[in-house]
Subunit: 370 residues, 2 copies
């Protein structure tokens, strides 16, 4: 089983350099907070300078003590800690000079134009190499430590999914139900909701990103319930459907089609398969039901420290082919949205395996009739 009590920090830092990217740059400046958390365990305003030989965490005075204590306790990686006295960029320049770096990779998707400009001002001779998805690709494959935590987050989230029957009722407002879901996530052991809980009833169900309002649920409503809890830093993400009393036959058909689309996508997931093929499987089912145009988003997204991370399970985008790998955790969540009729989405979280996938969420998928 390996030690699952604590992340293998040194292994994560090592994989930075054993990955294909590691061969092309002498150093990487990590600026994405969530990537720093993944590589070192540290949370707080910081920069990480990683080379194959050493790793420096730059933190300001507010965080220095906490970082040193956490390192002593083994709660973060055994990295070198450098206090930022005034500006991050000047401290970064000092560290880069000490390491005699002439070139540095930086995270193009996290570094802003302003930050890179400031770095260039204090390090005029440095060659900055923009890189993409370097740490994100490592994060996409979960280790044992992470899988345990994601399982726990999905369990807690599913517990709330199973209790929806006690929360969703005619006459209650979307906002009341969303508040109860958030409270139930906390009771289930989560530290917080992974994102603002969606309770979208009636006409609002046709809008994938509706926010809860004071509208009261009424007879004939479809209700989209999309929520997830964070446990030990890892996210769960679940969507279930409810109907208030009797819904129109074509609303019911919409829900059924979405569920079939999810079945098709789930059946397609397997290590080695293209993410876009999983998306296409869901899209084909909805198209056959005349709902191709009603599927307004991608089929899913990676899930871990962040509620939306790599890989994206969507259409092949500009020729980029994403192959699913064993250990990837993602959502499978097709939906269909028709103005005047309503919308439906069904979402579960899975871990990709060599043979297919294991579904980590286990709340009943049947349309909840209240």
């Amino acid at each position: 089983m390996g030690d699952s009590l604590r992340p293998d920090w040194s292994g994560r830092l090592r994989r930075l350099w054993s990955s294909a990217r590691g061969t092309s740059a002498p150093a990487l400046i990590v600026s994405s907070p969530i990537n720093i958390k993944y590589l070192t365990g540290f949370e707080g305003t910081s920069l990480l300078v990683a080379t194959p030989a050493s790793t420096w965490l730059l933190v300001d005075g507010r965080y220095e003590h906490a970082a040193r204590e956490a390192r002593t306790a083994g709660a973060i990686a055994a990295i070198d800690i450098r206090r930022v006295e005034n500006r991050f960029d000047t401290t970064l320049a000092t560290v880069a000079a000490e390491l005699e770096l002439a070139a540095c990779a930086c995270e193009a998707e996290s570094v802003t134009v302003a930050t890179l400009e400031a770095w260039r001002r204090v390090m005029p001779a440095m060659a900055f190499i923009p890189t993409y998805q370097w740490v994100e690709e490592l994060r996409a494959i979960k280790d044992l430590f992470e899988l345990e935590r994601i399982r726990a987050a999905c369990r807690a989230t599913s517990e709330v999914g199973r209790a929806l029957g006690t929360l969703v009722a005619a006459g209650r407002t979307e906002r009341e139900i969303a508040g109860d879901i958030d409270a139930a996530l906390l009771r289930a052991g989560c530290s917080r909701s992974a994102f603002p809980t969606i309770v979208a009833s009636g006409p609002a169900s046709a809008h994938p990103h509706a926010r809860p309002t004071d509208r009261r649920l009424r007879e004939g409503d479809l209700v989209v319930l999309d929520f997830g809890g964070v446990l030990d830093g890892y996210c769960g993400d679940l969507t279930r459907m409810a109907a208030v009393g009797q819904v129109q036959a074509n609303a019911r058909a919409l829900v059924d089609a979405v569920r079939l689309a999810q079945d098709a996508a789930l059946a397609t997931v397997r290590a080695g398969v293209l993410a876009s093929d999983v998306d296409q499987a869901a899209r084909d089912v909805l198209s056959r039901h005349g709902l191709g145009e009603a599927f307004l988003h991608a089929t899913g997204h990676g899930l871990g420290l962040d509620v939306h991370e790599s890989p994206r399970i969507g259409r092949a985008d500009a020729g980029r082919r994403i192959k699913l790998e064993a250990g990837t955790v993602c959502t499978i969540e097709p939906g269909a949205y028709v103005d005047g009729l309503g919308g439906a989405r069904m979402e579960d979280d899975v871990v990709v395996t060599a043979e297919g996938c294991e579904v980590l969420t286990d709340a009943p998928r049947d349309l909840l009739i209240v």
Copy 2:
């Protein structure tokens, strides 16, 4: 009084172009979500293309309907809405071509290196002009609509500040107290906490960014309580100090010094004063008490839609002189942190006026002895 029921969207967009920045660029691409929310009221994945003559909101299919409905209802600005079919950058290129733009300002502090590179690929002839703090400087001066909302957020936050005596007690854990503070903020009408609530007791009080743990409060502890609620999208931010029973005389002296530092900073705030002078006033008091080195952060920050926004009330940084203006809302929160002894911070929110400032938070500042 003016109409304070609804933000003056067109006024905000107009001020974009009447500000000094507006003279140097034919268009601005706004990519910071909070800046888009400020200028238009729209919340969701989007880009804004603003010219003096017209303003385009680019949203994908998931948000299009909501944006159109909100515009019809007057809940967002009367902007043009353009649906993004596939990629934001290609739609942006289309809009830029229709507007015949040869140059565009972009927000250097929000646009990542990767995004700018993608824009350059689809708009190879466009001159991108990086700009800094353009919308942020407008946001720093609050209008009547905003002041009313910030007042309400500060009132709700202060209500919780006045109730701390019922929540903080020996034997309770930091985490329990933080949870109760969050719940009290919701009961006071807030939609959520503006940031993760800090309850730092005993040794942890010496760390400005400690997170609540399962440690139980005990005799002799100093306790830093830092929290704030979001109401109608605007933030309050408050820090109060508690002591469990009898604390050491020098811990008490630390708390008193921080309060004197806050008094000095508050007395310095006035339209036309440099932010760094306000910071220096607090720093001088702490230095006189031998705590100059123990003040690990800036004296305050702007407060509004974001819990940390412009202006920063800190040391003069690289020659940048920030002058306070009437209508600016900021926190005044000096602190001192001494390992082995403990830490203290005292924070209130103020609006800058021609004569001085008005304090918006009104919970008692006395050390709460429990």
